[in-house]
């Protein structure tokens, strides 16, 4: 995916975002990864029906992420208190990062240029290795461009196979 000022293609390192989470606490993406694969989503915001649908999909698959040593992170321009309410409504247990001040949006080149009202993120998804190297990038401007849950499972499997030294169980 060509994405403005920073190149966000497979094999490149995703920037170590520093943003407040849905509780207002400052976070870094590398800290959130914590040594595990990450599925990172940029989202228009709570108001978009496509985002609501997609986030419900993620809330359904979080049960697998929670037992599989992998993370989900969502970035939007909603303020933390709005994200907290949206997150609670979804029943999500993953983290939201707020770029309400558009600190990273221009640098990432992911602004949705066709929405001049909200100036939101363009929906996109990145599956990341624990060191934030991009494994796969998805352009979700059209809903069908987003990763399906099967594609997320596939990406998480491929990343995990590459980073877990004991993926092949040692011989007894």
């Amino acid at each position: 995916m060509e994405a403005g000022f920073l190149s966000l293609n497979r094999g490149e390192r995703f920037p170590d975002l520093d943003l407040p989470d849905h509780t207002g606490r400052e976070r870094r993406l590398s800290e959130l990864a914590g040594g595990d694969p990450v599925a990172l989503f940029t989202s228009r915001g709570w108001w978009c029906p496509k985002e609501q649908r997609h986030m419900r999909e993620l809330a359904a698959v979080q049960d697998e992420f929670e037992v599989a040593y992998a993370r989900i992170v969502v970035v939007s321009v909603d303020p933390p208190e709005v994200q907290a309410a949206f997150r609670a409504g979804l029943g999500a247990r993953f983290i939201f990062l707020s770029d309400a001040e558009r600190r990273w949006l221009p640098r990432l080149g992911l602004r949705e240029s066709t929405d001049t009202v909200h100036a939101p993120y363009r929906p996109a998804a990145f599956t990341l290795r624990p060191d934030l190297e991009i494994h796969a990038a998805y352009n979700g401007y059209w809903y069908w461009g987003r990763p399906t849950m099967e594609e997320l499972r596939r990406d998480m499997r491929e990343i995990s196979r590459g980073v877990r030294e004991d993926w092949e169980l040692p011989q007894a």
Binding site: R25, R27, G34, G35, D36, E66, A68, R71, V163
Partner: protein, 149 residues
């Protein structure tokens, strides 16, 4: 860093003196590794009796960690100092400790559903970023949310 540190709980007090009388508990090492937050309050949802254990894989233990991620951490907000579950060994859960600057929300602590809570004033704990979720599986022997590859 080892993924856990030992604290001792006698039912009323917590100490890092591992020779003190009481039950030795494994906590996330990061919670006692930094600059201590003075005058904080720990909600120790554990019992001093060593028989008070349940497997980490019990649905009740999984669910309280889900609740911690979903609403307990957001509810505490800036008051939160750190939280850790208590590992007894690689398999068993002995409770949890939530540390906050203000104890007024401890009556809502979801971890008290498994073992009852005792409020302890403490200077032992340091601030640790709360777990981002949704992960709640542990690394072997490490108290959740500590430990990583």
């Amino acid at each position: 860093m080892r993924p856990f540190a030992f604290l001792v709980f006698d039912g009323e007090r917590l100490t890092d003196d591992t020779k003190a009388p009481g039950r030795r508990l494994r906590v996330d090492a990061r919670c006692v590794a930094g600059e201590p937050v003075r005058g904080a309050f720990a909600h120790v949802c554990a019992l001093p009796a060593k028989e008070a254990v349940v497997p980490y894989d019990m649905p009740e233990v999984q669910q309280v960690r889900r609740d911690a991620l979903a609403w307990w951490i957001p509810l505490l907000g800036d008051s939160l100092v750190c939280l850790t579950t208590i590992a007894i060994d690689a398999v068993n859960y002995g409770g949890a400790i939530t540390v906050a600057r203000d104890p007024s929300l401890f009556e809502s602590d979801p971890f008290a559903r498994v073992f009852p809570g005792t409020i302890v004033e403490t200077d032992l704990f340091s601030e640790v970023p709360p777990p981002p979720g949704p992960e709640l599986e542990r690394y072997s022997g490490a108290p959740w949310p500590g430990g990583s590859f």
